[in-house]
Symmetry: C2
Subunit: 445 residues, 2 copies
């Protein structure tokens, strides 16, 4: 067997960091359920034709799968690819099961996705996303465009996450604006403007001109991308640029309504930012990106938007809106900044010490009695001296060691050294010691 090397883009956690990730996933799930979202999981694979043509980036990123032992006449697994997000599979799930779902359908989905992009800091080829979406049959009310960021904010605020902002735009604004300007290849313009943070406004103007825009059109497109506000004042700033189009009016009205409602329910949570584009082509209305304040250069830790035409079977269309938390990106980021760690590397709160192998059966009964009351316990792997048992617990951060003594069972808090008599039927560790805790550390940066 060859030497073992990590595979770039496929990160893994050690047990104590995994405890941090589990805490994030538990809080996110609990919050989504409190808001009435039902869990589903979709299979990891979709037909490649369904994954393709969702946007420039997506097409480059698909992993195909094939049975290594497949014979020529066995096409099973042919033309299947790993999903690169959870929205495209969800849209397919809705179409496939529409007869058995109740609309509007609120679902959450926490799963891995795969993207074959070039690995770089914070960009993974395999990562976990936590998505909420609401789809309806026929028409989707606009109020969901306000509700979803509130749900996401509710989850993130229960977590040890630094200050964040959800930036929001509406695809109809750039689309209407570009059309009003006379730029009709909206997708191309959008993709070029989307690079503004990477290449700067001058290069964007240059590329727009290369793509056929006049200098004036290009500059106005860049000016639009510069507009932002934490209230509805962005509307006036767009109007001041003097471009008119019915789609632009629609977009401004919808985003204005979102910002007005957000101001009532969660002042400061949303920022209208007309630079926000999202790389995927299926969005048609509101688009969101979640940023850690002051860490915008790291990129977003989540995002989403409204898609009106992704799920359609020709007869019925199921418009939807969704937002995703990039759990892996977020947790890896906070851990790598040294902001969070698990208080121990195991769920175990109590180690039952063994002085002789013959006592194992008795130790297992003690362990069972403690577990019955929700206390995580393990029995020592082998009979050993006092000091060795303490060391075993200490190495894993297990706070308590249980001993059989001539005076009956006793339990030692190995941090304080305090040792007291204990009855397996009644003794309970302090609440904060029963399960590993997430420790928020001082910022290292």
């Amino acid at each position: 067997m060859s030497k073992i090397n990590p595979i770039s883009g496929f990160p893994e956690f050690l047990p104590s960091d995994r405890i941090v990730e589990q805490h994030f996933l538990d809080v996110i799930r609990e919050t989504f359920e409190l808001h009435g979202f039902a869990s589903i999981e979709t299979r990891a694979v979709e037909p490649v034709e369904r994954l393709s043509n969702q946007g420039e980036d997506a097409d480059k990123e698909i992993y195909g799968i094939r049975r290594l032992a497949a014979t020529a006449d066995d096409d099973s697994g042919a033309n299947l690819g790993l999903h690169f997000d959870l929205t495209v599979p969800f849209a397919r799930y809705v179409l496939e099961h529409s007869g058995k779902l109740a609309f509007p359908f609120r679902r959450y989905q926490i799963q891995k996705v795969w993207r074959g992009e070039r690995p770089q800091e914070g960009r993974y080829r395999e990562f976990t996303q936590a998505d909420i979406d609401i789809v309806d049959s026929g028409e989707l009310p606009n109020h969901y465009e306000v509700e979803l960021p509130l749900v996401i904010a509710d989850a993130l605020r229960k977590l040890p996450v630094p200050e964040f902002v959800i930036k929001v735009n509406n695809r109809k604004i750039p689309e209407g604006f570009y059309r009003g300007l006379g730029l009709d290849d909206v997708t191309t313009v959008l993709r070029i403007v989307d690079k503004i943070d990477k290449i700067g406004p001058d290069k964007v103007v240059e590329r727009l001109v290369e793509a056929g825009a006049t200098d004036k059109q290009a500059k106005l497109a860049v000016q639009l991308a510069d507009i932002s506000s934490t209230d509805t004042s962005f509307v006036e700033q767009v109007r001041a640029l003097g471009v008119e189009h019915p789609t632009l009016d629609e977009g401004l009205e919808q985003l204005g309504a979102v910002m007005a409602a957000a101001a009532e329910h969660a002042p400061g949570l949303l920022m209208a930012d007309l630079r926000i584009a999202r790389g995927l082509d299926y969005y048609t209305g509101a688009v969101y990106e979640i940023y850690l304040v002051g860490q915008e250069s790291f990129g977003s830790v989540g995002g989403g938007g409204r898609y009106d035409a992704l799920a359609s079977d020709g007869r019925t269309t199921y418009p939807g809106v969704g937002i995703s938390i990039g759990v892996s990106r977020l947790v890896h980021r906070l851990i790598s900044l040294g902001l969070l760690k698990g208080s121990r590397s195991t769920p175990t709160a109590v180690l039952i010490a063994l002085t002789a192998e013959e006592d194992r059966a008795e130790a297992m009964r003690t362990a069972a009695a403690l577990r019955q009351r929700g206390i995580p316990v393990e029995v020592a792997p082998a009979a050993a001296k006092f000091g060795k048992q303490i060391k075993f617990a200490d190495r894993r951060g297990i706070p308590f060691v249980w001993f059989s003594t001539d005076n009956g069972p006793e339990v030692k808090d190995i941090r304080s050294g305090e040792q007291v008599p204990a009855d397996p039927a009644t003794w309970t560790p302090p609440g904060e010691d029963v399960r590993p805790q997430i420790e928020a550390l001082e910022e290292n940066s």
Copy 2:
């Protein structure tokens, strides 16, 4: 977009069945943590060379992945395959991170795995497994071979699962027995005998003879596979066949110890069954298969074993033992038998009715107050008449609808029709209505 068809072997749940699966996963996780197992997740992919050569079945089953847009000089993703179990990736994880783990290392892992086999009832190409393993550095005590089935039984007994039995064997018994008989190609003999349930004992004898055994050797091999006992009496039955080999002695002693200890801690849980083989080549000691009693023909719903040489870096070997619950197989089976279902299709316990769209802000505040106290709530999608709101809740199984009336807020139990005044700061539904319950139904079969 082409018509949507399910992909054979990649099953998906509707929301109310997913609630059953989530309950299983929650109880399994909770039990594993109470027994001191730490969670890890490994990436979905491993180098193909690491996945290969783990057994006849495994090799046929590997899905390779490749970037669809990969160019000839870009070999990223080359020679990676989706894992077909969680043991091989875990062994690799142990080797990769051995310097940062504390041994013996107890871990659980609940993830999807993929196998490109021919789909048939209860055989999936994508399914979820829940594994526990304990690995040690250098030597692994035998008592873990008893502990692991006890943990699995603890989990299954907390679940609405029919009676089950864990059948256990020790690879050294057939190996020593075959060698004692003079059959030295143990792997080939094992694979042929493993087909006994499918093709019957006569065909097994025939195939063994084709593979070079004498008639007498073949018949004795089949006789061995026929031995079983719920106590240690299997030892005498093997002795009576008159075959001798030191490896056989070792296997009988180890399996005898497992059965003796199990009789003390969990009488009736284990059955020694010398037919149990497991299809994977890496097992070297105890092997387990979990069956639902009376449904043996469905195949096992879990299994595992001891592997002494899977994780080795040349200097250090990390022997391990593990058992896996085939969660997808088990849950799909129980649901398809009509034994289990979720009490509703959504986490929502209370629907806040809306009589006018202007009341949405107030309804959202009521919802937030209820959620604060752990009650899953959603606000009606649109203002509508009384009857329509009740129908909306009824269709999803939501038990309570919250109304604003001229006398203040009231809540209606739509099952009984009872409607009472309610304060968002204090009203709480009965405990069993807060979350969806798993309903165990009468057996249909």
